[in-house]
Amino acid sequence: MSQHIGQDGVPLRHDGTPFPADSSQWTDAEKEYLETYYFGTREHVESDGQTVAAVDVPEIDGSAIA
């Protein structure tokens, strides 16, 4: 099983070679390792917004409509 990550962020197998992109080439033990440690994630979510003072909503001048 992999215990290393390559410099480009690709997880490495026990023999130091990168995992292939095709998941069908992963062994069951490798899948379990990847699912637990590499693909298992903690999510951090932060709101990002600007608050502006609400503008007035004046009436439309209906007499100006042709």
Binding site: P11, G40, Q50, V52, V57, D61
Partner: protein, 161 residues
């Protein structure tokens, strides 16, 4: 057709992030909430834009940030028709950051719902509901993303999630 009816005279939906990268569609697609009149292009006094958004980060159990995402929905507000009302002449989304590590995929889409009038007949205030949704997935995991926002013509907004 009348100014108290608010319509979206632009796009209804577009891709924001596709295959883990910002979509080209975000540079050309917009939506709006404008009066249902033929001369809505004559809106004046637009202000802003202001924005609402999310910063999202997924860290795996090896301590690696595998997804780092930041998007903002911008809108201009306070636009007048014949001197009154508060409409939204432009709304768009930008991707400020989208870093996706090996094995992960991110997709994100913008959906625009029917705008309505949150004001009254003489002083219409545009109300524009939008949804930003998608997923973060890998060959072994998948997580749905969904945020609903309501943007108002006076510059206010509500985040429903």
């Amino acid at each position: 057709m009348s100014w108290e009816h608010v319509i979206n005279a632009a796009q209804l939906a577009w891709k924001v992030i596709e295959d883990g990268k910002p979509s080209a569609e975000i540079s050309t697609n917009t939506c709006n909430a404008v009066p249902d009149v033929s001369d809505w292009h004559s809106l004046t006094d637009a202000q802003g834009p202001t924005w609402v958004g999310r910063k999202l980060k997924w860290e795996n159990y090896l301590g690696i940030d595998v997804v780092d995402l930041h998007f903002r929905v911008h809108w201009e507000y306070g636009a007048r028709y014949r001197g009154g009302g508060a409409y939204i002449p432009n709304c768009w989304i930008t991707v400020i950051k989208c870093d996706v590590a090996w094995g992960f995929d991110v997709s994100l889409n913008m959906h625009v719902h029917n705008p309505t009038n949150a004001g009254d007949e003489r002083a219409p205030k545009a109300r524009l509901p939008i949804t930003v949704s998608g997923s973060v997935s890998s060959p072994l995991t998948s997580q749905t993303l969904n945020w609903d926002y309501i943007l108002f013509g006076d510059g206010d907004h509500e985040s429903l999630h």
